[in-house]
C-alpha cells in the first residue's frame, strides 16, 4: 500500500528572543535550523515510506529562510518539499498558522498520514498538530512512537505519562511524534548536494493555495502575546571540578547528602 505522508516542519530560531517585546530576531540562514523535534517525525515518515512504499512531503509555513530547512528535509530523504511563504502570513499565532497549514494540506491532495513534531524548539506550544487535525476533522494521536500498518489500518503506539498506549487508526489520520520515536537520520553527502544544488523546494503564497488572507497573519490571529519576561529559575546549577575520579566522588557525596543514597 503506497502511502502519502505529509510531515509539517518548521525552521526555528536558535537565538533566544531578547526580553523586549516586539524586538523580533532577524531570521537568517545562520540562526535558523530545522526544528529538532521535527526530525523524529520525518524519520518515522521515511521509515514507513521505505517499508510500505509511498511518498513523503514536507510542508512548512514561514519566512523565505525556511527554504533551507526544507532543503535539509529533501537531503534527508523527503520526496517533495513545499513552503508557504507570504508577507501576509507574518505574525501568525498558532491558530492562524494551523489554518494555513490545514489549507495547504488540502491543497496538496489526498493523504494518508499527517505528522508533526511534538513541539518546536523556539515556541514550545505543541498546539499546531492537534489544532490542524481538528480543523481537518481527522483523528489525532499524540506522542506517537511507532506506526505499524495492519491490514489496511494502522497500529499506533504512543508514549504518554509513562504509559505505552496502543491505538488503531484508519487513514487518513494525524499524529504528533515522540522525540525518541525514530532512529536518527544520517545524510549522505550526495543527497546534500542534490538537495541544495537544485531548486526543488516549491514556494507558494497564500493566494496560490486559495487561502483567505483575513484568516492568516497578525490580522487573522485570535491571540496576542502581550508580555514576555524570563521565568525565575528555582533550580541552581553548580559545577563539580577536578579529575574524573574526584568529580565522581564529589557527586556521590552530594547525592548522599541529599538523602537519595545511603
Amino acid at each position: 500500500m503506497a502511502l502519502n505522508i505529509i510531515v509539517c516542519v518548521k525552521s526555528v530560531v536558535l537565538e533566544a528572543p531578547s526580553a523586549a517585546l516586539g524586538s523580533s530576531v532577524e531570521r537568517t540562514p545562520r540562526n535558523s535550523v530545522l526544528n529538532p523535534f521535527d526530525r523524529p517525525a520525518l524519520a518515522l515518515a521515511l521509515e514507513l515510506a521505505k517499508e510500505e512504499g509511498g511518498l513523503v512531503t514536507t510542508l512548512s509555513m514561514g519566512p523565505p529562510v525556511s527554504c533551507w530547512a526544507l532543503c535539509e528535509t529533501l537531503a534527508l530523504g523527503a520526496d517533495r518539499a513545499v513552503l508557504i511563504s507570504d508577507k501576509k502570513a507574518a505574525g501568525s499565532d498558532t491558530m492562524a498558522t494551523t489554518r494555513v497549514l490545514a489549507k495547504a494540506v488540502n491543497w496538496l491532495g489526498p493523504w494518508d498520514i499527517l505528522l508533526f513534531g511534538s513541539r518546536t524548539a523556539d515556541s514550545d506550544t505543541g498546539q499546531v498538530g492537534p489544532q490542524a487535525s481538528a480543523l481537518l476533522n481527522k483523528p489525532f494521536v499524540g506522542m506517537a512512537s511507532s506506526i505499524i500498518p495492519k491490514e489496511g489500518i494502522f497500529l499506533v503506539e504512543s508514549l504518554t505519562d509513562g504509559f505505552v498506549e496502543q491505538y488503531l487508526a484508519n487513514a487518513p489520520f494525524a499524529a504528533s511524534v515522540h522525540p525518541n520515536a525514530a532512529s536518527v537520520l544520517d545524510c549522505a553527502l550526495a543527497s546534500i548536494r542534490q538537495a541544495f544544488d537544485s531548486d526543488r523546494v516549491e514556494v507558494l503564497t497564500l493566494a496560490d493555495i486559495g487561502m483567505d488572507e483575513a484568516f492568516a497573519g497578525e490580522k487573522g490571529s485570535p491571540t496576542r502575546v502581550i508580555s514576555m519576561t524570563p521565568a525565575p529559575k528555582a533550580k541552581k546549577c553548580a559545577f563539580i571540578e577536578g579529575g574524573a575520579n574526584e568529580q565522581a566522588q564529589a557527586l556521590l557525596e552530594k547525592i548522599r547528602d541529599a538523602g537519595l543514597l545511603f
Binding site: A75, L189, I192, R193, E241
Partner: protein, 379 residues
Amino acid sequence: MEPFFSEKHHAVKRLVRAFCEREIAPIAKDIDAQARFPWEVVDKMGPLGFFGIQVPSSLGGAQMDTVSYAIVVEELSRVCAGLGLAVSVHNSVCVYPLLTFGNDEQRQRLVPPLARGEKIGAFCLTEPNAGSDASAIEATAIDQGDHYLVNANKVFVTNGAVADTCLMFVRTDPAAGRKGISVLVAQRGTPGFITGELEDLSGMRCNPVSSIRLVDCAIPKENLLGRQGMGLAIGLTALDTGRLGIAAQAVGIAQAALEEAVRYANQRRQFGVLIGKHQAVGSMIADMATQVEAARLLVLRASWLKDNGAPFTKESAMAKLFASETASIVADMAVQIHGGYGFSKSYPVERYYRDARVTRIYEGTSEIHRMVIARCVSG
C-alpha cells in the same frame, strides 16, 4: 553571507558534525588509547560518501566540491584526528591522483570501490632514506614485459595496515634520476605484498600507520598510473590537494582544542573567579580563536580557488603551513589553560596536543612548505 561558504556548505558542516558527535566522539578517547582502527564507524562512513567526497557520481562518489571536502575533514578531525587523516589521505593522495592521471579503464576499475569505502587507499612515497627528498627513493620496478617486478620498502604509510589500493612510488629507470620515478597501483593480496608492524605513534593513534614492503611483487602493466617517469609530477599534484586535507585536519584539531579550553575556562575557579576572567587566560583564548579563524579562512580560500579552476599551490601551501603551526600553538595553549589536568589523559586536550604535532611534519614539513611558498613568492 560568508565568503566561500554557501547554504549547502553549512548543511554539510551541520550534518557531518551531527554524525561525528554521535558516532565518533564517544569512542575517540578509547580508540586512541587502544590504537584501534574503528571499522564499525568506518563502515558507516562509506555509504555517506566520506571516501569518495569529490569523485563523480558516475564512479560511485558524492561529487562534492573542495570546500565540502575541507569541511568534512575538519569536522572529522575535530572529534578524531586519526580518522580525519584516514579520510584525507584516502581522498586526496590516493583517489584524486587516480581520477586525475588514471585512464578510463583504471578509473572504472579502481575508483568505485574506493569511493564507496569498500576499499581503503594509501599513498606510499616515504622510505627509510627518502622523506622530504622524495627523489631519493630506492624502490625498484623492473620491466618484465606485461608486468613490473617490484621491490620496495615504504615506511609511515597512513592507513597502511588496512589499505587495499596503494599508490606506490618506484624507480622504473634508475639512470634517469628524478625523471625515472613512476607510480604503480599495488593491491593488497598480490603475492609479495607485505604489511609491516604498526608504528607506535605519539598521536593519530587510531590510524594504522605501518610500513608496507613489496618483495618480488608482480604488478601488471595496466596498473601504471600516467606514463613512466611521471611519478614525481603525480606526487606533487597529489600533495597540492593533500595539503588542503592536512590543513583542514589541523583546523579541526585546533577548533577542538579551542572549544575545550573555553569550556574549561568557564568552569574552573581560581582566586575566587572563573579562570577565563583572568586577563592572561582571556588573552590566550583571544589569540587561539583568532588564529583558528585565520587558519580556516586560508583553507577555505585555497579550496575555493581550486573549485574555481584557479592556481592554488601557493595558497594551499600557506594554508598547510599556517594551520599546522596554529594547531600546535592552540593545542599547547589549551593544555596550558587546563593546568595540570591538561597533562592528564582525563581531558581530551592532552590528545589534541599529541595529534597536532605531526601536522607540521607529514605531507611536507613546515620547512619544506616555507621553501615552496618562498619559491612561489620570490619566483
